[in-house]
Amino acid sequence: MPSAAELSATPALRAVDLTLSFGSRAVLSGITADIQNGAVTAVIGPTGSGKTTLLRTFNRMNDKVTGYRHTGDVLLDGRSIWSPAVELMALRRRVGMLFQRANPFPMSIMDNVAAGVRAHKLAKGGEIREIARERLVEVGLWDAVSSRLKDSPFRLSGGQQQLLCLARALAISPEVLLLDEPTSALDPMATESIEKLIRTLVPKITVIIVTHNMAQARRVADRTIFLHQQQLVERGPTQQVFESPAREETARYVSGRFG
């Protein structure tokens, strides 16, 4: 069992001089960043700075976009995520994702939570139900849905649907969880419950959250990465990035003067 210091010493994910374009449009340019193991890292920056693209690169969701090209590398546990030895489906089991808006599947609530477990054949029958129950308890949805596990998820509120999607992502025990503005479509109450949950996920899971909401980044993130015009401008402990940024653009952005 590695000590806490060792854990944080080995980054969970590392982007090395990552440059990425879609056709002739450059989206990321020379990004080098370590994502600290077992911590919450916020990725902030104005619209079009490449935040979401960077996030989606970590589980190779961009690979099939028309005109996609990259140079540089992303290492998960020291190994390139594009290495032939890395199986794409297995990568996505290890690096889970939650989207801007809830996206339940057209199947029962129970089957939604079980979907990933079944796809990866991680468990069978009764075990699957037990995993689903545990995860629904973990996200605080169990009491609301335990009596209607066979119902459609589309009758749940937006916040509940997003929690269901979180339970679904957690059910396959990811090592890294990518959150793409997960609360941007939710009301303050639901946002608060998701933020609280994010803090309970670390240090077991490494969390990366893209957010437009400065206050949210300050509330949930241990570390913050600031992207601007496709480049990584600054990264460091959240408090430092927000309170004593090293770069002028960072200071202007976090104080709300642009973006």
Partner: protein, 321 residues
């Protein structure tokens, strides 16, 4: 006013047609009774002999109207057509909507629509001249020697493989005619599935196939069912193409996949000339038409109920993301 007319006229026409059919069918219903549904012998009677009168109904000697082979033949050809067409169409739709480059997908779409517009007499001729012989020489023997060897299936699949004019060729030909309908509708439905749930499936580590099976297709299940019903309507009523490849064997129940058989529509088109000289024959045709109409309406009702059940668990339309 015109709008009102447009809304009322179809209803009036339908009711008028039904009343007319029932009225015209009454003598045959009185003459055949339940034998119409249970009997397997169809005889137009002796045209040149003196008509006789039974129970107050004047008819030709030897006339007998057992429509069971035609009713079952109609259902069997349509069933075979759907068994082939549904997986092929949905697979083709997935391919066109998700896999093919945009330009190729466009071309494939144009061909689908063109295929849907080919006159059925042309399809029928192709079926009789080209498809039938291929079925007889290659496809039927293959099925007979594989599926036909499975115990319990020998009767239907393993019998002598026939001339290529019969049940299987009819079903296959109907599939060709139904595929464009189901495939083009399914393709449009697939394109309408929001990206977000599909990305969710991909991000969860599902393969494209799993994503299609678990997310994309269930999302549009009720719509696809609707497309299948549309195709079924076409298959049940398709007349001339089937008449050209089914062999028109009026007394043969469809008990052998390759054998000559008959459908309601094929009988009517094939034997109208014989029937038109005798009022009782025409009355029997009216009863056949009535049976076809009832079959079509019943399948529509069943399908509507199915659509309701399916959309209960899937996505309420308009509630997408």
């Amino acid at each position: 006013m015109i709008g009102l007319g447009g809304a009322v006229v179809p209803g009036l026409v339908l009711i008028g047609l039904l009343v007319e059919l029932i009225f015209k069918a009454l003598p045959a219903i009185g003459y055949s009774g339940l034998r119409f549904l249970t009997g397997s012998t169809w005889n137009f009677g002796a045209d040149y002999a003196t008509p006789v009168t039974t129970n107050g109904l004047t008819h030709l000697q030897g006339e007998e109207f057992g429509a069971l082979p035609q009713i079952l033949g109609t259902l069997a050809t349509s069933a075979i057509a759907l068994i082939i067409a549904v997986p092929v169409s949905v697979g083709a739709a997935l391919l066109i909507a998700e896999r093919l480059p945009r330009r190729l997908a466009g071309i494939a779409g144009v061909f689908l629509e063109l295929l849907a517009g080919v006159p059925s007499v042309l399809v029928g001729l192709w079926g009789a001249v080209t498809l039938g012989p291929i079925v007889a020489r290659h496809v039927s023997p293959l099925i007979a020697h594989t599926v036909g060897r499975i115990p319990g299936l020998t009767g239907f699949f393993g019998q002598s493989t026939g001339s290529g004019q019969g049940l299987f060729t009819s079903g296959l030909l109907l599939a060709v005619m139904v595929i464009p309908i189901i495939a083009s509708t399914s393709r449009d439905l697939i394109r309408g599935v929001p990206v977000l749930p599909r990305e969710g499936a991909v991000a969860l580590g599902m393969s494209d196939f799993e994503c299609a099976r678990k997310v994309t297709l269930p999302w549009i299940a009720s719509g696809i069912l609707g497309a299948v019903v549309l195709g079924l309507g076409r298959a049940l009523g398709e007349t001339i193409a089937v008449a050209m490849v089914c062999g028109v064997a009026l007394g043969s129940l469809p008990t052998n996949l390759y054998g000559a058989m008959v459908t309601i529509a094929a009988n009517i088109v094939q034997n109208l000339e014989t029937a038109i000289t005798d009022p009782m024959d025409i009355s029997a045709f009216a009863e056949l038409a009535l049976a076809l109409m009832v079959i079509t309406l019943l399948t529509n009702v069943v399908a509507t109920l199915l659509v309701r059940r399916v959309s209960g668990t899937a996505i309420p339309v308009g509630r997408g993301l």
